[in-house]
C-alpha cells in the first residue's frame, strides 16, 4: 500500500506524542491546543465511563476523557500522575487524559505504515495510521474517534 502515500516533497506530518500504558501514541498538532498537568479534576457522577471529570481551563469548563478507558485499559487510578492533552474538536475544547506527554515530532510521510494487524481491535478502531519511531511503533489516533463518548 506504499503506493498510495503522497510523494509530495514537503510531505511531513507533525505529531504531538504521548504515552498511555505501554503504547506510544500521537495526534496531529493542528488539533492540539496545549498540554497541561496537575489540574484538579471535578468528578462527574452518572457521566459516561470514559469521562473522568471536569477541569477549569482558565475559565473554560472542559470535560476530561480518559484515554485508558477508550483504549480498553484499566481505568485511571485517581492519584496517578497524568497529563491533559487539550484538543479542539467541533468548536469545543476537550481534554484527553494520558499517562505522560511526549515530544512534538515531525515525521516523513514516507515512513508511514498502515496499522499492523497485530494491534488489538479495540485500539485499532481509534487509529488512522502508524509510524516507525526508533524502536517503537507510534500509533496515530483519530481525534473524533478517541473522544467519542457513549
Amino acid at each position: 500500500m506504499t503506493s498510495v502515500v503522497a510523494p509530495a516533497p514537503a510531505a511531513q506530518v507533525t505529531l504531538c506524542t504521548f504515552v498511555v500504558g505501554d503504547l506510544l501514541l500521537g495526534l496531529p498538532v493542528e488539533h492540539v491546543v496545549e498540554v497541561v498537568r496537575g489540574e484538579r479534576l471535578t468528578r462527574v457522577p452518572l457521566a459516561p465511563g470514559s469521562v473522568v471529570g471536569l477541569l477549569n481551563l482558565r475559565g473554560r469548563i472542559v470535560s476530561a476523557v480518559d484515554a485508558r478507558v477508550r483504549l480498553g485499559l484499566d481505568r485511571r487510578d485517581g492519584d496517578r500522575e497524568c497529563a491533559h492533552i487539550i484538543i479542539t474538536l467541533d468548536d469545543e475544547q476537550v481534554s484527553l487524559v494520558v499517562d505522560r506527554e511526549g515530544e512534538v515530532v515531525a515525521l516523513e510521510s514516507a515512513t508511514r505504515y498502515d496499522v499492523p494487524e497485530t494491534v488489538p481491535p479495540e485500539i485499532r478502531r481509534l487509529l488512522v495510521s502508524a509510524y516507525r519511531r526508533d524502536e517503537a511503533l507510534l500509533l496515530v489516533l483519530d481525534p473524533h474517534r478517541v473522544l467519542t463518548v457513549d
Binding site: R40, T42, R43, V44, P45, L46, A47, P48, V51, G53, L54, L55, N56, R58, G59, R60, I61, V62, S63, V65, D90, E92, V94, L147, V149
Partner: protein, 706 residues
C-alpha cells in the same frame, strides 16, 4: 461579499429597526393624529424606504412604499386626518414590507406574490375621502422641503454610537473576566502574607479594576427590554381591534437593560398576560360605560430595576379577577377541600390561577382562555429564576408583578457537599435548610420501605438522597445530615446532602457537550477556589426520584396531569390501600400491649391524648378473599398505623404495612368499589383503593367527644 450584497445586508438590518419603530409610531399617531413631528418621522422612514428600494431594484417594495408615501403625504398636508382604517392599512403595509424583507434575506429576491390589493387599499383612502386623484409624482423628501417646513425630528435611534457584537465574543469576555478575578484572588493570598509588602497596593487596584471590568462586560450583554415590551403598542392595538374594545397602551421603562436570554424568556409570558388583560380583564365599551368608566381601557407595562432584579408590572383597569369563582373551580376540580378553601386569604385565592387547569373564562375565544396558560406563565418564568404575583380588585383592575434576574449568566447558588465533591444548587429552588444530628434523625424521619419522609412542622416531606441519586458511595458516615428543602414547580421535597456552604453568585456556563445527556445537571460554574462545579438540575432530580413534577407540556396537555402524593399501604387482608399524603400526620408503630379498649374502640395513648384506632379491613365490607389473603395474616410484633388529621382530631388507621409514597394523577380514576373507599386507582399496575377517611371515621363510631 460584493458591494451590492453589503448594501443589501445593511438595508435589511436598518429596515428591521425602522419597521419596529413604525409600528410604535403609527399606533401613537392613531391616538393623536395631529402630532406633526411624529407624522413627519413616519413619512421620512417610508420615503427613505421607497428611495432605497428604487436604488436596489426592488419594484414590489418600491410600489408599496410609494402608495404609503402618497397617503402619508396627504395626511401631512392635512388633506386627510388619520383614522382607524387608515392606520390599519398602514400597519398592513409595515407587515407586508417586513414579510418581503424576510424573503429577500433568504432568497435575495422579492417574493413573487403581488401586493396590488394593498396598494389599491392604500390609494383607496385617498380617493374615497377626498375624491382627489392620487399623487403619481413622488413627494419631495423632507430634506428637500422648502424653508419654513416643520422641523423633522431625528430617527429614534442613532446608529453612530453603537456597534453590533456577536454574543459569543461577549461570553468569552465574561469567561476571561471571571478568570481574571480568580487570578486576582490568588495574588491576593500572596499579598496577604505581607501587609506592607510591594504587592499590597497594586493588588487593591487590581481588585477595583477587575470588579469594574466585570460590571462593564455584564452591562454590554444587556439589551433594552423595549425590544420586547415595545412591541406591545402594536400587538395590543391589533388585539383590541379584533375584540372590538378601545384601549390605551402605555409602555414605560423601555430602555431598562436586561440580558438577551431574559428578554427572550419574557416574550411569551408577557404576550399571555397582555392577551388575558385585553380579553378577560378589560370590558367591552358598553360595559365600561355602564360602570361609569372611561370607554377606553388602560393597559400599562412598566419595567424598572430594583434590588439587582428586573421588575415588570402589567396592569389593566378592567373588571378584575373573580377570586370566589377561582376558589369554586379549584374545589370543583378537587384541588382543594372546601375546608381548606375557607382558610385562604385573598392573595392565596388569586394565586390559584397559576394552578394547572384553572381558568375563569368559561368560553374559549380565539384570543385566550383554554384552561391552560397562567400555570405555563408561572413555570416559564420560574425556569429563568423569575416569579409572578397578582393583585386584583373587583371592578377596578388587575396587576401582575413579575420579577426576574437581570441576567441568566449569573445565578445565586447554594454550595452543598456530597461525598468528597461539591455541587451548586440554584437558589431559586431553595426554601430552607434543616440540620439534623444523628440523635434527632430517628425521631424526625419516617422510613416507608424505600421512601424516607422528614417530619417538618407537622407535614411529611419526601426526601431525596443526593448521594443515591448520583450513585455516589463516598459519603461521610458520621450520621448527621443536612436536608435542603427545595421547591420545584410547586412541589416540595428535601434533598439530603452531607453539608452546605455559603450562597454565592456564580457565573453559569453550559455543560460540556459530552455531558449533555446526563440529566442530573443543569450547567457548570467555577467557584471561588477555582474548581469546576456542577449545577444540579433540581426538577430533574425530583423527577428521577419519583417526585412528580408537572412540566409545562404536561400542564398544557390536560388538567388531568395534576398529581397528588399518595401513601401506599397494605391492608391487613392483603389489599392495596392509599391515603393522600396531605392528610397524613405521622406514621407510627404501636406494640400490641399499648392498645387499650375504650367502649367499642381500640385506642392508644398518644401525644398526650387518646388516639382512636380504626381497623380498616373490618370496616370495608363485601371483599372477596383470594387464596393469598385467606391464608391468614401473619402476626407481627407491632401495629402499623397511619395517623391522620380528620374533622374529629387525630385518628390512627391500622394497616399491615406501610409500603411506599408515590405521586399519581388525580384523575382518571374508577368509581369507588365499596363504601369507605373514595375511588379506585391503578398504581404501578396494581388496583389500589383510595380511602375515604371521613366515611371510615364515621363508620367506626368515632364522634366529636374525642
Amino acid at each position: 461579499m460584493t458591494e451590492d450584497e453589503e448594501i443589501l445586508l445593511a438595508f435589511l438590518e436598518e429596515s428591521r429597526d425602522n419597521l419596529d419603530q413604525l409600528d410604535k409610531d403609527l399606533v401613537a399617531l392613531e391616538t393623536d393624529p395631529h402630532d406633526v413631528a411624529l407624522l413627519a418621522r413616519v413619512f421620512r422612514v417610508v420615503h427613505t424606504l421607497k428611495g432605497t428600494c428604487g436604488f436596489l431594484g426592488l419594484p414590489t417594495l418600491e410600489g408599496l412604499a410609494h402608495a404609503g408615501e402618497d397617503l402619508l403625504g396627504a395626511l401631512r398636508s392635512a388633506e386627510l386626518v388619520l383614522d382607524r382604517p387608515m392606520t390599519s392599512s398602514l400597519l398592513r403595509l409595515v407587515d407586508a414590507v417586513r414579510h418581503i424583507l424576510s424573503c429577500i434575506a433568504v432568497t435575495s429576491a422579492e417574493p413573487p406574490e403581488s401586493q396590488d390589493h394593498l396598494v389599491a387599499e392604500l390609494r383607496g383612502h385617498l380617493s374615497a375621502t377626498t375624491g382627489v386623484v392620487p399623487h403619481s409624482q413622488p413627494q419631495p423628501a423632507p430634506a428637500d422641503a422648502p424653508p419654513g417646513d416643520e422641523r423633522v425630528p431625528p430617527p429614534a435611534r442613532t446608529a453612530d454610537t453603537t456597534v453590533r457584537v456577536d454574543v459569543a465574543i461577549l461570553d468569552t469576555l465574561m469567561d476571561l473576566v471571571g478568570e481574571l478575578v480568580l487570578v486576582g484572588s490568588r495574588i491576593g493570598e500572596l499579598a496577604a502574607l505581607d501587609d506592607d509588602g510591594p504587592l499590597a497596593a497594586p493588588y487593591r487596584d487590581l481588585r477595583v479594576v477587575s470588579a469594574e471590568l466585570q460590571d462593564s462586560v455584564m452591562t454590554a450583554r444587556l439589551q433594552p427590554v423595549g425590544t420586547v415590551t415595545g412591541k406591545f403598542h402594536r400587538i395590543a392595538r391589533d388585539l383590541a381591534a379584533a375584540l372590538g374594545k378601545h384601549i390605551v397602551v402605555q409602555v414605560e421603562g423601555e430602555d431598562v437593560g436586561v440580558d438577551k436570554a431574559v428578554n427572550e424568556a419574557l416574550r411569551d409570558p408577557l404576550l399571555h398576560l397582555v392577551r388575558n388583560a385585553l380579553d378577560h380583564g378589560i370590558e367591552s365599551p358598553a360595559e365600561r360605560t355602564a360602570a361609569g368608566k372611561p370607554v377606553a381601557g388602560h393597559l400599562r407595562i412598566r419595567t424598572f430595576h430594583e434590588g439587582g432584579r428586573v421588575h415588570l408590572e402589567v396592569s389593566d383597569d378592567g373588571r378584575g379577577v373573580d377570586a370566589e369563582a377561582l376558589v369554586a373551580k379549584a374545589v370543583a376540580a378537587s384541588l382543594l377541600t372546601g375546608d381548606e378553601a375557607t382558610r385562604l386569604d385573598q392573595a392565596d385565592q388569586l394565586a390559584l390561577m397559576f394552578h394547572a387547569g384553572l381558568s375563569t373564562k368559561q368560553d374559549v375565544t380565539s384570543t385566550s382562555g383554554r384552561g391552560v396558560g397562567m400555570d405555563v406563565v408561572r413555570t416559564s418564568l420560574e425556569q429563568v429564576g423569575g416569579s409572578i404575583e397578582v393583585a386584583s380588585s373587583a371592578g377596578r383592575g388587575t396587576q401582575f408583578r413579575l420579577s426576574i434576574p437581570l441576567t441568566l449568566a449569573i445565578m445565586p447558588i447554594l454550595v452543598a457537599w456530597c461525598g468528597d465533591e461539591h455541587y451548586a444548587i440554584p437558589q431559586v429552588h431553595l426554601r430552607e435548610v434543616v440540620h439534623l444530628d444523628a440523635e434527632s434523625l430517628a425521631d424526625r424521619i419516617d422510613v416507608v420501605s424505600s421512601a424516607r419522609m422528614l417530619r417538618l412542622r407537622g407535614r411529611l416531606l419526601p426526601l431525596v438522597d443526593l448521594a443515591a441519586c448520583l450513585g455516589d458511595t463516598s459519603r461521610r458516615t458520621d450520621g448527621a445530615l443536612v436536608v435542603v428543602v427545595l421547591d420545584s414547580d410547586g412541589r416540595r421535597f428535601g434533598l439530603v446532602v452531607d453539608d452546605v456552604g455559603d450562597t454565592v453568585d456564580a457565573v453559569v456556563k453550559p455543560l460540556p457537550r459530552r455531558l449533555r445527556g446526563v440529566v442530573a445537571y443543569a450547567g457548570t460554574t467555577i467557584l471561588g477556589d477555582g474548581r469546576a462545579t456542577l449545577i444540579l438540575d433540581v426538577p430533574a432530580l425530583a423527577g428521577a426520584a419519583g417526585i412528580a413534577v408537572s412540566t409545562p407540556e404536561d400542564a398544557a396537555s390536560a388538567a388531568a396531569t395534576t398529581t397528588v402524593g399518595l401513601l401506599l399501604a397494605t391492608a391487613p387482608d392483603g389489599g392495596r390501600l392509599a391515603v393522600r399524603i396531605a392528610q397524613v400526620r405521622r406514621l407510627e408503630h404501636f406494640a400490641h400491649e399499648q392498645v387499650e379498649q375504650m367502649g367499642a374502640l381500640d385506642v392508644v395513648q398518644y401525644a398526650g391524648g387518646i388516639l382512636p384506632l380504626v381497623h380498616v379491613s373490618a370496616l370495608l365490607p363485601e371483599r372477596r378473599l383470594t387464596g393469598r389473603e385467606a391464608s391468614g395474616v401473619p402476626t407481627s410484633e407491632s401495629i402499623a398505623a397511619v395517623v391522620c388529621h380528620g374533622a374529629q382530631g387525630l385518628v390512627g388507621f391500622v394497616v399491615r404495612s406501610i409500603d411506599d409514597v408515590v405521586a399519581e394523577p388525580a384523575v382518571p380514576r374508577q368509581p369507588p368499589s365499596r363504601p369507605g373507599v373514595e375511588a379506585c386507582l391503578v398504581v404501578d399496575g396494581q388496583v389500589t383503593e383510595l380511602l375515604d377517611l371521613e366515611a371510615l371515621t364515621a363508620a367506626a363510631g368515632i364522634g366529636a367527644s374525642l
